[in-house]
Amino acid sequence: MKSKTFKKGISVPHNKYAGASALKDCPAPQTVYIPLAQHIGKPATATVAAGDVVKAGTLIGRADGLVSANIFSSVSGTVKAVARLKTPTGACDHVVIENDGQYTEQRLPALKDKSGESLLTRMREAGLVGMGGAGFPSHVKFSPKTAVDTFIINAAECEPYITCDYRLMKERAAEFIRGADYLARILGLDKFFVGIEDNKADLVDVLNAAAQNASVRAEAIMLKSKYPQGAEKQLIYAVTGRKVPLGKLPADVGVVVGNVHTAYALYDAAENGTPLFRRTVTVSGGAIGAPSNLWVRTGTRYSDCAEFCGGVSDDCVKLLSGGPMMGFALGDLEYSVTKTTGALLALTAAEANTLQPQPCINCGKCARACPMNLMPMYIDAYTRRGDYASAKKYGATSCIECGCCAYSCPAKRPIVQSVRLCKNKIRELKL
């Protein structure tokens, strides 16, 4: 079978060191710090105060408005404080909980009625969000305003190093397939696609067998291992041949794309009544002692995860939350694992880019790599000159920030940084 794909893009070294490592539980630390903003939209409102006793699965933050999500305690114990602490992208209120080590659970009642409507309600109750990184509240995404005829599970996992979705699908294939079927049901569909990069071809048989067992109509689509295969627009094009128009949503072309872990989380919430308070995280990179895939309770500090995997060695130059192409660089490890944390990476100088930018030589490699068919060199140049209107003309607002341009750049120009600056300036100046 020929693997499907999109136009342009780049090939990156996969470095999936943790691919063979089975998921294992990462012990929760003595104190967990659970952020109330683990999603896009408004942060949840704290429903607990210092001194309250909570169980694993107790609601500690209520969704504030439509685009928001519930937050649950991940351990049992006592709330010590609600404090404003730093996050990789800023700061937000954290619920600090003293772990009593008992892990007594509080669950939602198991869902009897598996109709789309009640599943959607359960999705909102359980605090589900897109767990691929953006964290868009799922109940908003799964109630599209336009008719949807295709549902795709994004199992491309095109970012180097990350393997947690792969392990989850491999080890919990039956649960994943059922969860994905529930997601499809919410959309009123009885069939869905699973887009898988061909470097994980062994999953195809596993998933097909699981789908057959559960009598679910799922089709695994083999995709070429190329970055950014998992970018929403590129994935939709590869699977369906449809192009999402600029400034529109996938639902406008009748497609919704869902995340692997979100599907699993919905299964867990519907069958077991477990709200979303733990997820799989890949801890990897050349500076990590034993790269592994972990089940981590939200609010666990990155430093605890790293410690559990053998610690970070001294030759580490960069710490990342998320994948190396789109993740955030961290100054230290004093951050919490959230619903959207897919990976914690510690890269050595041999892996990470540590070079200083040089002048653009106009080679055009960025334009040849850009999966959105933009002209990144001009966006960078005009942004640096402060001419944001011209930068917009060359596609600054259409950029998906995948980083293909900066990866390919021989002069090591920080093109994505320019694009982000430009987007902010365009918003600020209302260009």
Partner: protein, 373 residues
Amino acid sequence: MKTVSASPHLTRKGNSTRSIMTDVLIALSPCVVAATVMYGYHVVINLVTCLIFCFCTELLYNLIVSKKWNREGVLRSSVFDLSFAVTAVILTLNLPAVMPVDIWGLTVFKGTGEIAFSFDTVILCALGSIFAIALVKMLFGGIGRNFANPACTGRIFLFIAFGGAGAFNLTSSLWADGMSTTAATWLGTRNVVTGGMLLDMFLGNTATAAVGETCVIAILVGYVYLSARRVIDPRVPLMVIGSLAVFAFLFDVVPSGARGANMFYSTVAHVLSGGLLFGSVFMATDYATSPNTFIGTAIYAVGIGLITALIRAFGSFPEGFSFALLIMNIVTPLIDKYIVPKPFGYIKPAKVKPDKQVAAWQSGVTDGKGGDK
């Protein structure tokens, strides 16, 4: 505290400005060797002169601008990207082996009447280097910002400024045979072409104006290397050469009255002569001075082929490649301005049908309702 910077945090290994320039230098080396074999030690003298002057000009310019006359200023200068060396080598290969300026009389002759050492040539090489680096490249902002190919412009400067003084009239090929003992290349004479002549042209057995242009095999090796290393788009030289062949056939071969196989031979001679092959591989593919889109590059390449053919057919110079390249270099920003790729998912904005009332208002006829809308 670790480094915090914007994503992506990876970069392609072994991919830097310097590695690209090193690749170009490697690709140029067969041409340097071929030129040295054919034209002797003069080529080496010219090359060393150009390298020294290009290096010094760029370094000096950097130091003057940064005002850091110390170790740090040197370390932070742009000379380490090796682009000066590419300019120097291409300039050398674009010049004749010796360029004696008659009125200076600085040429030292051997007893046999051959030129032993030409101090004029050294001066001209130095001038060309300074012109190329300082004026064309650094003054416009350094690497990536030059409006035209520095080496090409340096050559044209020397050609125009000193061509009348005899500098470009004399070449001496060690392999020169009956066909080309004088200075004239095929483009100068336009003799009837034979198969043997074509083979000579292919191997480099001709006297030409520029030392790097002769050996087609050396150029081909460079072309294959650059294409394999993905430094250049292999389609660009092919488009330049292809369009020249078509236009030369139309403008020169057909009017010359050649018939039958001669038409083919003459067209091939056009392709193999002059600076076309060397220039299309090493100069037309220059990053800064060629368009950034494939369609733009195609227009640029066809433009070079067309203008070269026009100059060859109707111009007062036998060869026109460097002029054609320079003209298209200058047109490049214009091409890049108008040829902008459509982003993935772009939809043409639908034409808004003019509102009837607005149309009526615009035409001056109002129905009493739509006046101020």
